[in-house]
Protein backbone atom coordinates (compact mmCIF):
# COMPACT_ATOMS: atom_id res chain seq x y z
CA UNK A 1 0.00 0.00 0.00
CA UNK A 2 2.71 2.42 0.95
CA UNK A 3 5.31 3.47 -1.53
CA UNK A 4 8.89 2.61 -0.76
CA UNK A 5 9.63 6.26 -0.32
CA UNK A 6 6.90 6.66 2.30
CA UNK A 7 8.11 3.54 4.09
CA UNK A 8 11.64 4.89 4.21
CA UNK A 9 10.38 8.21 5.46
CA UNK A 10 8.45 6.53 8.26
CA UNK A 11 11.44 4.43 9.21
CA UNK A 12 13.53 7.60 9.40
CA UNK A 13 10.93 9.43 11.50
CA UNK A 14 10.62 6.47 13.85
CA UNK A 15 14.38 6.30 14.33
CA UNK A 16 14.52 10.05 14.97
CA UNK A 17 11.82 9.84 17.64
CA UNK A 18 13.51 6.86 19.27
CA UNK A 19 16.84 8.68 19.37
CA UNK A 20 15.18 11.77 20.81
CA UNK A 21 13.37 9.84 23.51
CA UNK A 22 16.05 7.38 24.51
CA UNK A 23 19.40 9.04 23.91
CA UNK A 24 19.81 10.70 27.35
CA UNK A 25 18.84 7.42 29.00
CA UNK A 26 21.42 5.52 26.95
CA UNK A 27 23.94 8.23 27.75
CA UNK A 28 23.60 7.79 31.50
CA UNK A 29 23.42 4.01 31.05
CA UNK A 30 26.79 4.09 29.29
CA UNK A 31 28.22 6.33 32.02
CA UNK A 32 27.03 3.92 34.69
CA UNK A 33 29.35 1.22 33.28
CA UNK A 34 32.42 3.44 33.18
CA UNK A 35 35.33 2.80 35.52
CA UNK A 36 36.51 5.83 37.53
CA UNK A 37 39.67 6.11 35.41
CA UNK A 38 37.57 6.07 32.27
CA UNK A 39 35.18 8.85 33.25
CA UNK A 40 37.23 11.58 31.62
CA UNK A 41 37.79 9.70 28.37
CA UNK A 42 35.47 12.05 26.54
CA UNK A 43 33.69 9.20 24.79
CA UNK A 44 30.08 8.09 24.88
CA UNK A 45 30.75 4.43 25.59
CA UNK A 46 33.19 3.07 28.16
CA UNK A 47 36.59 2.46 26.55
CA UNK A 48 36.77 -1.10 25.26
CA UNK A 49 37.65 -3.65 27.90
CA UNK A 50 37.13 -1.33 30.83
CA UNK A 51 33.35 -1.55 31.18
CA UNK A 52 32.57 -2.47 34.76
CA UNK A 53 29.66 -3.12 37.06
CA UNK A 54 31.61 -1.68 39.99
CA UNK A 55 29.29 1.32 40.22
CA UNK A 56 26.28 -0.95 40.70
CA UNK A 57 28.17 -3.00 43.28
CA UNK A 58 29.08 0.16 45.14
CA UNK A 59 25.48 1.27 45.59
CA UNK A 60 23.90 -2.17 46.02
CA UNK A 61 26.39 -4.09 48.16
CA UNK A 62 29.34 -1.69 48.66
CA UNK A 63 30.09 1.48 50.62
CA UNK A 64 27.18 3.46 49.31
CA UNK A 65 24.54 0.80 49.91
CA UNK A 66 23.37 2.31 53.20
CA UNK A 67 22.75 5.59 51.44
CA UNK A 68 21.15 4.22 48.29
CA UNK A 69 19.14 1.26 49.54
CA UNK A 70 17.53 3.23 52.34
CA UNK A 71 16.66 5.99 49.87
CA UNK A 72 15.22 3.39 47.51
CA UNK A 73 13.14 1.91 50.32
CA UNK A 74 11.91 5.38 51.29
CA UNK A 75 11.05 6.28 47.71
CA UNK A 76 9.14 3.07 47.07
CA UNK A 77 7.30 3.16 50.39
CA UNK A 78 6.41 6.82 50.42
CA UNK A 79 5.42 6.95 46.74
CA UNK A 80 3.26 3.82 46.96
CA UNK A 81 1.46 4.98 50.11
CA UNK A 82 0.91 8.50 48.73
CA UNK A 83 -0.37 6.97 45.48
CA UNK A 84 -2.67 4.56 47.29
CA UNK A 85 -4.23 7.22 49.52
CA UNK A 86 -4.64 9.63 46.61
CA UNK A 87 -6.26 7.02 44.38
CA UNK A 88 -8.69 5.83 47.05
CA UNK A 89 -9.77 9.38 47.93
CA UNK A 90 -9.87 10.41 44.28
CA UNK A 91 -11.96 7.38 43.32
CA UNK A 92 -14.64 8.30 45.86
CA UNK A 93 -14.45 11.94 44.85
CA UNK A 94 -14.54 11.28 41.11
CA UNK A 95 -17.42 8.83 41.52
CA UNK A 96 -19.42 11.55 43.26
CA UNK A 97 -18.51 14.05 40.54
CA UNK A 98 -19.39 11.75 37.66
CA UNK A 99 -22.45 10.13 39.15
CA UNK A 100 -24.12 12.26 41.77
CA UNK A 101 -25.74 15.63 41.67
CA UNK A 102 -24.56 17.86 44.47
CA UNK A 103 -23.80 21.55 44.82
CA UNK A 104 -20.10 22.35 44.90
CA UNK A 105 -19.05 19.86 42.24
CA UNK A 106 -17.48 22.68 40.26
CA UNK A 107 -15.76 23.95 43.38
CA UNK A 108 -14.09 20.58 43.96
CA UNK A 109 -12.81 20.40 40.36
CA UNK A 110 -11.62 24.00 40.40
CA UNK A 111 -9.84 23.43 43.70
CA UNK A 112 -8.09 20.38 42.25
CA UNK A 113 -6.95 22.48 39.31
CA UNK A 114 -5.75 25.30 41.56
CA UNK A 115 -3.82 22.88 43.76
CA UNK A 116 -2.14 21.31 40.76
CA UNK A 117 -0.72 24.62 39.57
CA UNK A 118 0.37 25.65 43.04
CA UNK A 119 4.12 26.32 43.27
CA UNK A 120 5.47 23.51 45.42
CA UNK A 121 8.13 25.75 46.90
CA UNK A 122 5.46 28.03 48.36
CA UNK A 123 4.14 25.10 50.37
CA UNK A 124 7.56 23.95 51.47
CA UNK A 125 8.61 26.91 53.61
CA UNK A 126 5.67 26.85 56.02
CA UNK A 127 5.64 23.03 56.12
CA UNK A 128 9.36 22.99 56.90
CA UNK A 129 8.73 25.14 59.94
CA UNK A 130 5.57 23.35 61.02
CA UNK A 131 7.02 19.85 60.56
CA UNK A 132 9.99 20.75 62.76
CA UNK A 133 7.63 21.94 65.47
CA UNK A 134 5.30 18.94 65.47
CA UNK A 135 7.91 16.29 64.77
CA UNK A 136 6.98 15.33 61.22
CA UNK A 137 10.28 16.59 59.82
CA UNK A 138 12.33 13.77 58.31
CA UNK A 139 9.58 11.15 58.59
CA UNK A 140 7.63 9.17 55.97
CA UNK A 141 4.36 10.77 57.01
CA UNK A 142 5.99 14.19 56.66
CA UNK A 143 6.46 13.47 52.96
CA UNK A 144 3.28 11.48 52.32
CA UNK A 145 1.07 14.38 53.37
CA UNK A 146 2.59 16.99 51.02
CA UNK A 147 2.82 14.37 48.23
CA UNK A 148 -0.97 14.30 48.30
CA UNK A 149 -0.90 17.87 46.99
CA UNK A 150 0.83 16.46 43.91
CA UNK A 151 -1.05 13.20 43.44
CA UNK A 152 -4.62 14.04 44.48
CA UNK A 153 -5.54 16.75 41.94
CA UNK A 154 -4.40 14.85 38.86
CA UNK A 155 -6.03 11.67 40.17
CA UNK A 156 -9.35 13.45 40.59
CA UNK A 157 -9.28 14.94 37.09
CA UNK A 158 -8.17 11.74 35.40
CA UNK A 159 -10.67 9.55 37.24
CA UNK A 160 -13.55 11.96 36.78
CA UNK A 161 -12.86 11.85 33.04
CA UNK A 162 -12.75 8.04 33.10
CA UNK A 163 -15.89 7.67 35.18
CA UNK A 164 -17.85 9.99 32.92
CA UNK A 165 -17.29 7.57 30.07
CA UNK A 166 -18.64 4.57 31.97
CA UNK A 167 -22.15 3.54 30.90
CA UNK A 168 -23.65 3.49 34.37
CA UNK A 169 -26.97 2.18 32.99
CA UNK A 170 -25.29 -1.23 32.94
CA UNK A 171 -25.63 -1.27 36.70
CA UNK A 172 -29.39 -0.83 36.53
CA UNK A 173 -29.59 -3.32 33.68
CA UNK A 174 -27.84 -5.91 35.81
CA UNK A 175 -30.20 -5.19 38.69
CA UNK A 176 -33.18 -5.61 36.40
CA UNK A 177 -31.70 -8.94 35.42
CA UNK A 178 -31.88 -9.99 39.05
CA UNK A 179 -28.45 -9.04 40.42
CA UNK A 180 -28.24 -7.50 43.88
CA UNK A 181 -26.91 -3.94 44.19
CA UNK A 182 -23.51 -5.22 45.24
CA UNK A 183 -23.40 -7.86 42.48
CA UNK A 184 -24.42 -5.27 39.92
CA UNK A 185 -21.68 -2.95 41.08
CA UNK A 186 -19.05 -5.65 41.23
CA UNK A 187 -19.88 -7.46 38.01
CA UNK A 188 -20.89 -4.55 35.79
CA UNK A 189 -19.11 -1.47 37.06
CA UNK A 190 -15.88 -2.60 38.68
CA UNK A 191 -14.51 -4.24 35.49
CA UNK A 192 -15.20 -1.00 33.62
CA UNK A 193 -13.80 1.29 36.29
CA UNK A 194 -10.76 -0.74 37.30
CA UNK A 195 -8.58 0.11 34.28
CA UNK A 196 -9.15 3.82 34.89
CA UNK A 197 -8.26 3.51 38.56
CA UNK A 198 -5.18 1.49 37.71
CA UNK A 199 -4.01 3.96 35.06
CA UNK A 200 -4.54 6.84 37.45
CA UNK A 201 -2.44 5.01 40.02
CA UNK A 202 0.43 4.71 37.53
CA UNK A 203 0.33 8.42 36.67
CA UNK A 204 0.11 9.42 40.33
CA UNK A 205 3.01 7.09 41.15
CA UNK A 206 5.17 8.70 38.44
CA UNK A 207 4.52 12.10 39.98
CA UNK A 208 5.29 11.02 43.54
CA UNK A 209 8.39 9.11 42.35
CA UNK A 210 9.63 12.26 40.58
CA UNK A 211 9.39 14.62 43.57
CA UNK A 212 12.54 16.47 44.47
CA UNK A 213 11.60 19.73 46.23
CA UNK A 214 9.77 18.12 49.17
CA UNK A 215 12.39 15.40 49.29
CA UNK A 216 15.33 17.72 49.86
CA UNK A 217 13.48 20.25 52.00
CA UNK A 218 11.59 18.09 54.46
CA UNK A 219 14.15 15.38 55.17
CA UNK A 220 17.65 15.43 56.53
CA UNK A 221 18.73 11.83 57.00
CA UNK A 222 18.31 8.34 55.60
CA UNK A 223 15.17 7.97 57.70
CA UNK A 224 12.97 9.46 55.00
CA UNK A 225 15.13 10.88 52.22
CA UNK A 226 13.86 9.62 48.84
CA UNK A 227 16.11 8.72 45.90
CA UNK A 228 16.05 11.97 43.86
CA UNK A 229 17.08 13.93 46.96
CA UNK A 230 19.68 11.33 47.93
CA UNK A 231 21.21 11.52 44.43
CA UNK A 232 21.75 15.24 44.85
CA UNK A 233 23.68 14.64 48.06
CA UNK A 234 25.72 11.66 46.90
CA UNK A 235 29.44 12.08 47.43
CA UNK A 236 32.29 10.09 45.97
CA UNK A 237 34.16 7.29 47.70
CA UNK A 238 36.76 9.86 48.68
CA UNK A 239 36.67 13.61 48.51
CA UNK A 240 38.80 13.53 45.36
CA UNK A 241 36.56 11.12 43.54
CA UNK A 242 33.49 12.35 41.73
CA UNK A 243 30.38 10.26 42.44
CA UNK A 244 29.54 10.26 38.72
CA UNK A 245 29.53 6.47 38.31
CA UNK A 246 27.53 5.74 41.43
CA UNK A 247 24.95 8.42 40.64
CA UNK A 248 24.58 7.11 37.09
CA UNK A 249 24.07 3.56 38.31
CA UNK A 250 21.51 4.72 40.89
CA UNK A 251 19.77 6.78 38.21
CA UNK A 252 19.47 3.71 36.00
CA UNK A 253 18.07 1.59 38.83
CA UNK A 254 15.31 4.10 39.61
CA UNK A 255 14.52 4.41 35.91
CA UNK A 256 13.89 0.67 35.52
CA UNK A 257 10.44 0.69 37.17
CA UNK A 258 9.43 3.62 34.96
CA UNK A 259 10.53 1.84 31.80
CA UNK A 260 8.75 -1.36 32.84
CA UNK A 261 5.48 0.44 33.60
CA UNK A 262 5.72 2.32 30.31
CA UNK A 263 6.45 -0.85 28.34
CA UNK A 264 3.54 -2.71 29.88
CA UNK A 265 0.93 0.05 30.01
CA UNK A 266 1.76 2.64 27.37
CA UNK A 267 -1.73 2.52 25.88
CA UNK A 268 -3.45 3.08 29.24
CA UNK A 269 -1.04 5.84 30.29
CA UNK A 270 -1.56 7.73 27.04
CA UNK A 271 -5.32 7.48 27.31
CA UNK A 272 -5.22 8.51 30.97
CA UNK A 273 -3.07 11.55 30.30
CA UNK A 274 -5.06 12.70 27.31
CA UNK A 275 -8.56 12.10 28.68
CA UNK A 276 -7.87 13.87 31.95
CA UNK A 277 -6.42 17.00 30.52
CA UNK A 278 -8.23 18.10 27.42
CA UNK A 279 -11.68 17.13 26.35
CA UNK A 280 -14.42 18.80 24.42
Amino acid sequence: MLTTKAKLLWALVTVLVLVYALFPVLSILATSFKAPSDLTSGTFLPSSGTATTANYEQILVGDAQGLFLSALRNSIGISLIATFIAVVLATLCAYAIARLDFPGKKLVLTTALAVSIFPVISIVTPLFNLWRTIGLYDTWLGLIIPYLSLTLPISIWTLAAFFRQIPWELEQAAQVDGATTWQAFRKAIVPLAAPGVFTTAIIAFFIAWNDFVYGISLTSTEAARPVPAALAFFTGASQFEAPTGAISAAAIIVTIPIVLLVLLFQRQIVSGLTSGAVKG
Partner: protein, 337 residues
Protein backbone atom coordinates in the same frame (compact mmCIF):
# COMPACT_ATOMS: atom_id res chain seq x y z
CA UNK B 1 -13.70 28.23 3.45
CA UNK B 2 -13.72 24.90 5.22
CA UNK B 3 -12.15 26.49 8.22
CA UNK B 4 -15.33 28.34 8.94
CA UNK B 5 -17.17 25.13 9.76
CA UNK B 6 -17.15 24.78 13.52
CA UNK B 7 -15.43 21.53 14.32
CA UNK B 8 -17.31 21.16 17.53
CA UNK B 9 -20.65 20.41 15.96
CA UNK B 10 -19.81 16.71 15.93
CA UNK B 11 -18.15 16.54 19.29
CA UNK B 12 -20.21 19.04 21.19
CA UNK B 13 -23.32 16.96 20.92
CA UNK B 14 -21.77 13.68 21.94
CA UNK B 15 -19.01 14.61 24.30
CA UNK B 16 -19.68 15.08 27.93
CA UNK B 17 -18.26 18.38 29.00
CA UNK B 18 -15.06 16.87 30.25
CA UNK B 19 -12.59 18.29 32.66
CA UNK B 20 -11.55 21.58 31.36
CA UNK B 21 -10.02 24.74 32.60
CA UNK B 22 -13.31 26.41 32.09
CA UNK B 23 -15.53 24.37 34.33
CA UNK B 24 -18.18 27.02 34.06
CA UNK B 25 -20.22 24.83 31.76
CA UNK B 26 -20.06 21.78 33.95
CA UNK B 27 -22.98 19.56 33.30
CA UNK B 28 -24.87 20.38 36.46
CA UNK B 29 -27.50 17.78 35.56
CA UNK B 30 -30.18 20.39 35.34
CA UNK B 31 -29.64 21.24 38.95
CA UNK B 32 -31.20 24.60 38.41
CA UNK B 33 -33.68 23.40 35.86
CA UNK B 34 -35.48 20.50 37.45
CA UNK B 35 -35.13 21.27 41.12
CA UNK B 36 -38.18 22.68 42.77
CA UNK B 37 -37.54 24.73 45.89
CA UNK B 38 -38.60 21.86 48.14
CA UNK B 39 -35.91 19.24 47.75
CA UNK B 40 -37.12 15.71 48.08
CA UNK B 41 -35.53 13.35 50.56
CA UNK B 42 -33.78 11.58 47.68
CA UNK B 43 -32.18 14.73 46.36
CA UNK B 44 -30.97 15.65 49.79
CA UNK B 45 -29.57 12.17 50.37
CA UNK B 46 -27.74 12.38 47.06
CA UNK B 47 -26.25 15.73 47.96
CA UNK B 48 -25.15 14.43 51.32
CA UNK B 49 -23.58 11.34 49.75
CA UNK B 50 -21.86 13.55 47.18
CA UNK B 51 -20.14 15.55 49.88
CA UNK B 52 -19.37 12.49 51.98
CA UNK B 53 -17.52 10.99 49.01
CA UNK B 54 -15.89 14.15 47.65
CA UNK B 55 -15.35 15.81 51.01
CA UNK B 56 -12.23 14.02 52.25
CA UNK B 57 -10.29 14.69 49.03
CA UNK B 58 -11.49 18.30 49.03
CA UNK B 59 -10.53 18.93 52.65
CA UNK B 60 -7.10 17.34 52.22
CA UNK B 61 -6.39 19.44 49.14
CA UNK B 62 -7.24 22.57 51.11
CA UNK B 63 -5.21 21.48 54.12
CA UNK B 64 -2.05 20.80 52.13
CA UNK B 65 -2.15 24.03 50.13
CA UNK B 66 -4.44 26.66 51.54
CA UNK B 67 -3.16 26.31 55.08
CA UNK B 68 0.56 26.53 54.12
CA UNK B 69 0.08 29.55 51.88
CA UNK B 70 -1.85 31.40 54.60
CA UNK B 71 0.89 30.50 57.05
CA UNK B 72 3.50 31.75 54.55
CA UNK B 73 1.66 35.04 54.13
CA UNK B 74 1.58 35.45 57.92
CA UNK B 75 5.24 34.57 58.41
CA UNK B 76 6.34 36.82 55.57
CA UNK B 77 5.38 39.78 57.77
CA UNK B 78 8.01 38.98 60.37
CA UNK B 79 11.74 39.26 60.59
CA UNK B 80 12.29 35.68 61.66
CA UNK B 81 15.33 33.45 61.56
CA UNK B 82 15.08 29.91 62.82
CA UNK B 83 18.55 30.17 64.29
CA UNK B 84 17.45 33.13 66.40
CA UNK B 85 13.81 32.43 67.25
CA UNK B 86 13.81 34.91 70.13
CA UNK B 87 14.38 37.86 67.82
CA UNK B 88 11.16 37.41 65.91
CA UNK B 89 9.80 40.82 65.13
CA UNK B 90 6.81 42.13 63.17
CA UNK B 91 7.99 44.27 60.28
CA UNK B 92 4.91 44.48 58.08
CA UNK B 93 5.85 44.49 54.43
CA UNK B 94 9.51 45.01 55.23
CA UNK B 95 10.58 41.66 53.78
CA UNK B 96 8.83 42.47 50.52
CA UNK B 97 10.62 45.81 50.36
CA UNK B 98 13.96 44.06 50.90
CA UNK B 99 13.27 41.52 48.17
CA UNK B 100 11.78 43.85 45.58
CA UNK B 101 14.68 46.28 45.86
CA UNK B 102 17.26 43.50 45.59
CA UNK B 103 18.65 42.86 42.09
CA UNK B 104 18.84 39.14 42.97
CA UNK B 105 15.05 38.91 42.88
CA UNK B 106 14.80 40.69 39.53
CA UNK B 107 17.54 38.67 37.87
CA UNK B 108 15.88 35.51 39.22
CA UNK B 109 12.56 36.65 37.84
CA UNK B 110 13.99 37.38 34.38
CA UNK B 111 15.86 34.08 34.29
CA UNK B 112 12.66 32.25 35.22
CA UNK B 113 10.64 34.14 32.62
CA UNK B 114 13.30 33.50 29.98
CA UNK B 115 13.35 29.77 30.73
CA UNK B 116 9.54 29.65 30.72
CA UNK B 117 9.14 31.47 27.41
CA UNK B 118 11.90 29.63 25.56
CA UNK B 119 11.05 26.13 26.79
CA UNK B 120 7.33 26.53 26.21
CA UNK B 121 7.84 27.83 22.66
CA UNK B 122 10.30 25.09 21.73
CA UNK B 123 8.13 22.45 23.36
CA UNK B 124 5.06 23.67 21.54
CA UNK B 125 6.77 23.27 18.15
CA UNK B 126 8.52 20.03 19.03
CA UNK B 127 5.49 18.65 20.83
CA UNK B 128 3.27 19.45 17.88
CA UNK B 129 5.64 17.65 15.54
CA UNK B 130 5.67 14.62 17.83
CA UNK B 131 1.90 14.70 18.12
CA UNK B 132 1.57 14.77 14.33
CA UNK B 133 3.94 11.83 14.04
CA UNK B 134 2.01 9.81 16.62
CA UNK B 135 -1.32 10.78 15.05
CA UNK B 136 -0.33 9.76 11.56
CA UNK B 137 1.87 6.81 12.49
CA UNK B 138 1.09 3.39 11.13
CA UNK B 139 -0.39 0.88 13.53
CA UNK B 140 2.82 -1.12 13.42
CA UNK B 141 4.99 1.59 14.95
CA UNK B 142 2.40 3.52 16.93
CA UNK B 143 2.93 1.50 20.12
CA UNK B 144 6.68 1.75 19.80
CA UNK B 145 6.57 5.52 19.35
CA UNK B 146 4.24 6.03 22.30
CA UNK B 147 6.35 3.83 24.53
CA UNK B 148 9.48 5.75 23.58
CA UNK B 149 7.81 9.11 24.15
CA UNK B 150 6.60 8.07 27.59
CA UNK B 151 10.12 7.31 28.81
CA UNK B 152 11.10 10.98 29.19
CA UNK B 153 7.63 11.70 30.60
CA UNK B 154 8.03 9.13 33.35
CA UNK B 155 11.70 9.59 34.10
CA UNK B 156 12.73 11.42 37.27
CA UNK B 157 13.66 15.05 36.49
CA UNK B 158 16.78 14.74 38.63
CA UNK B 159 17.88 11.73 36.56
CA UNK B 160 17.33 13.73 33.37
CA UNK B 161 19.34 16.58 34.87
CA UNK B 162 22.25 14.26 35.65
CA UNK B 163 22.11 12.63 32.21
CA UNK B 164 22.39 15.99 30.47
CA UNK B 165 24.88 17.32 32.98
CA UNK B 166 27.28 14.40 32.58
CA UNK B 167 27.02 14.50 28.79
CA UNK B 168 28.04 18.18 28.70
CA UNK B 169 30.33 18.28 31.73
CA UNK B 170 33.89 19.28 30.92
CA UNK B 171 35.29 16.27 32.79
CA UNK B 172 32.93 13.40 32.15
CA UNK B 173 31.22 14.68 29.00
CA UNK B 174 31.59 13.76 25.35
CA UNK B 175 29.64 16.63 23.78
CA UNK B 176 32.73 18.83 23.41
CA UNK B 177 34.44 15.94 21.64
CA UNK B 178 31.54 15.23 19.31
CA UNK B 179 30.73 18.79 18.41
CA UNK B 180 34.23 20.24 18.47
CA UNK B 181 33.82 21.08 14.78
CA UNK B 182 31.13 23.64 15.58
CA UNK B 183 32.35 27.20 16.06
CA UNK B 184 32.49 28.08 19.75
CA UNK B 185 32.74 24.52 20.99
CA UNK B 186 36.10 23.02 21.88
CA UNK B 187 37.73 20.77 24.47
CA UNK B 188 37.98 23.56 27.01
CA UNK B 189 34.40 24.77 26.86
CA UNK B 190 32.99 24.54 30.37
CA UNK B 191 29.26 24.66 29.75
CA UNK B 192 28.43 25.28 33.38
CA UNK B 193 30.84 28.16 33.98
CA UNK B 194 28.79 30.88 32.32
CA UNK B 195 25.10 31.74 32.24
CA UNK B 196 24.11 31.36 28.58
CA UNK B 197 25.66 27.91 28.00
CA UNK B 198 24.47 26.63 31.38
CA UNK B 199 20.95 27.85 30.65
CA UNK B 200 21.14 26.10 27.28
CA UNK B 201 21.75 22.70 28.90
CA UNK B 202 19.22 23.36 31.67
CA UNK B 203 16.58 24.20 29.09
CA UNK B 204 17.54 21.22 26.93
CA UNK B 205 16.97 18.86 29.84
CA UNK B 206 13.70 20.57 30.75
CA UNK B 207 12.50 20.44 27.16
CA UNK B 208 13.48 16.81 26.70
CA UNK B 209 11.68 15.74 29.85
CA UNK B 210 8.44 17.68 29.42
CA UNK B 211 7.81 17.80 25.66
CA UNK B 212 6.09 14.37 25.77
CA UNK B 213 3.44 15.76 28.11
CA UNK B 214 2.64 18.69 25.86
CA UNK B 215 2.66 16.43 22.79
CA UNK B 216 0.14 14.07 24.39
CA UNK B 217 -2.15 16.98 25.16
CA UNK B 218 -1.80 18.13 21.56
CA UNK B 219 -2.39 14.58 20.33
CA UNK B 220 -5.73 14.62 22.17
CA UNK B 221 -6.53 17.90 20.46
CA UNK B 222 -5.52 16.54 17.05
CA UNK B 223 -7.75 13.53 17.49
CA UNK B 224 -10.72 15.87 17.82
CA UNK B 225 -10.19 17.57 14.47
CA UNK B 226 -12.68 15.75 12.24
CA UNK B 227 -10.98 13.95 9.36
CA UNK B 228 -13.68 15.12 6.97
CA UNK B 229 -12.51 18.69 7.38
CA UNK B 230 -8.94 17.88 6.45
CA UNK B 231 -10.13 15.67 3.60
CA UNK B 232 -12.37 18.43 2.29
CA UNK B 233 -9.50 20.90 2.42
CA UNK B 234 -7.32 18.41 0.56
CA UNK B 235 -9.96 17.97 -2.13
CA UNK B 236 -10.16 21.73 -2.47
CA UNK B 237 -6.47 21.68 -3.27
CA UNK B 238 -5.08 23.01 -0.01
CA UNK B 239 -1.38 22.39 0.51
CA UNK B 240 -0.17 20.65 3.67
CA UNK B 241 0.75 23.98 5.19
CA UNK B 242 -2.63 25.48 4.36
CA UNK B 243 -4.40 22.49 5.91
CA UNK B 244 -2.37 23.03 9.07
CA UNK B 245 -2.85 26.73 9.27
CA UNK B 246 -6.47 27.02 8.16
CA UNK B 247 -8.05 23.78 9.35
CA UNK B 248 -6.10 21.84 11.95
CA UNK B 249 -4.62 24.52 14.16
CA UNK B 250 -7.76 26.69 14.40
CA UNK B 251 -9.74 23.60 15.32
CA UNK B 252 -7.47 22.61 18.15
CA UNK B 253 -6.86 26.05 19.56
CA UNK B 254 -8.42 25.11 22.90
CA UNK B 255 -6.12 22.14 23.30
CA UNK B 256 -3.10 24.26 22.41
CA UNK B 257 -4.03 26.94 24.94
CA UNK B 258 -4.56 24.40 27.73
CA UNK B 259 -1.24 22.72 26.93
CA UNK B 260 0.63 26.03 26.87
CA UNK B 261 -0.89 27.21 30.15
CA UNK B 262 -0.14 23.96 31.96
CA UNK B 263 3.41 23.88 30.70
CA UNK B 264 4.05 27.57 31.37
CA UNK B 265 2.94 27.21 34.98
CA UNK B 266 5.07 24.13 35.34
CA UNK B 267 8.12 25.72 33.72
CA UNK B 268 7.77 28.76 35.94
CA UNK B 269 8.31 26.50 38.95
CA UNK B 270 11.53 25.03 37.51
CA UNK B 271 13.83 23.85 40.27
CA UNK B 272 15.29 20.36 39.88
CA UNK B 273 17.34 20.92 36.72
CA UNK B 274 18.87 24.16 37.97
CA UNK B 275 19.60 22.75 41.41
CA UNK B 276 21.47 19.75 39.99
CA UNK B 277 23.38 21.47 37.18
CA UNK B 278 24.49 24.84 38.55
CA UNK B 279 22.75 25.30 41.89
CA UNK B 280 21.93 28.80 40.69
CA UNK B 281 25.47 29.91 39.93
CA UNK B 282 26.44 32.19 37.03
CA UNK B 283 23.11 33.92 36.70
CA UNK B 284 21.02 30.75 36.48
CA UNK B 285 19.20 31.37 39.76
CA UNK B 286 15.47 30.88 39.38
CA UNK B 287 12.72 31.99 41.76
CA UNK B 288 12.00 28.57 43.28
CA UNK B 289 15.68 28.17 44.05
CA UNK B 290 15.79 31.64 45.58
CA UNK B 291 12.92 30.76 47.90
CA UNK B 292 14.53 27.43 48.78
CA UNK B 293 17.85 29.09 49.56
CA UNK B 294 16.29 31.68 51.85
CA UNK B 295 14.13 29.40 53.92
CA UNK B 296 15.69 25.93 53.85
CA UNK B 297 19.41 26.73 53.51
CA UNK B 298 19.62 30.02 55.38
CA UNK B 299 16.64 29.40 57.67
CA UNK B 300 15.41 32.95 56.99
CA UNK B 301 11.79 31.94 57.34
CA UNK B 302 10.48 35.50 57.05
CA UNK B 303 12.34 36.35 53.85
CA UNK B 304 11.81 32.88 52.38
CA UNK B 305 8.08 33.07 53.02
CA UNK B 306 7.94 36.44 51.32
CA UNK B 307 9.71 35.02 48.24
CA UNK B 308 7.28 32.08 48.26
CA UNK B 309 4.31 34.42 48.41
CA UNK B 310 5.70 36.54 45.57
CA UNK B 311 6.23 33.41 43.49
CA UNK B 312 2.68 32.36 44.21
CA UNK B 313 1.44 35.80 43.10
CA UNK B 314 3.39 35.42 39.82
CA UNK B 315 1.68 32.09 39.17
CA UNK B 316 -1.70 33.63 39.91
CA UNK B 317 -0.92 36.45 37.49
CA UNK B 318 0.00 34.04 34.70
CA UNK B 319 -3.21 32.14 35.38
CA UNK B 320 -5.32 35.24 35.48
CA UNK B 321 -3.95 36.51 32.17
CA UNK B 322 -4.30 33.10 30.53
CA UNK B 323 -7.80 32.45 31.77
CA UNK B 324 -8.90 35.87 30.60
CA UNK B 325 -7.55 34.90 27.21
CA UNK B 326 -9.10 31.46 27.51
CA UNK B 327 -12.56 32.78 28.12
CA UNK B 328 -12.43 34.36 24.69
CA UNK B 329 -11.06 31.27 23.03
CA UNK B 330 -13.31 28.82 24.79
CA UNK B 331 -16.39 30.81 23.94
CA UNK B 332 -15.24 30.81 20.33
CA UNK B 333 -14.46 27.12 20.21
CA UNK B 334 -17.53 25.93 22.03
CA UNK B 335 -19.56 26.51 18.88
CA UNK B 336 -23.24 26.03 19.47
CA UNK B 337 -23.09 25.92 23.22
Amino acid sequence: MTSAIPARTTTAASAEPGPHLDTGEDKGNGRTGKAPKQYSERVRAERRLGWILAGPAFVIMLLVTLYPILQAIYESLFRFRLTAPGEREFIGLGNYAVILTDPVWWSGLWTTVLITVVTVLVELVLGFALALVMHKALKSVRGLLRTAILVPYGIITVVSAFAWFYAFDINSGYINNWFGWLPGIDQDLNWFAQGPTALFVIMASEIWKTTPFISLLLLAGLAQVPDELTEAAKVDGATWWEQMRKVIIPNMKAAIMVAVLFRALDAFRIFDNVFIMTNGAYGTEVLSLLAYRQSISRLEIGLGSAVSVLLFICVLLICFVAIKLFKVDLAGSQGGK
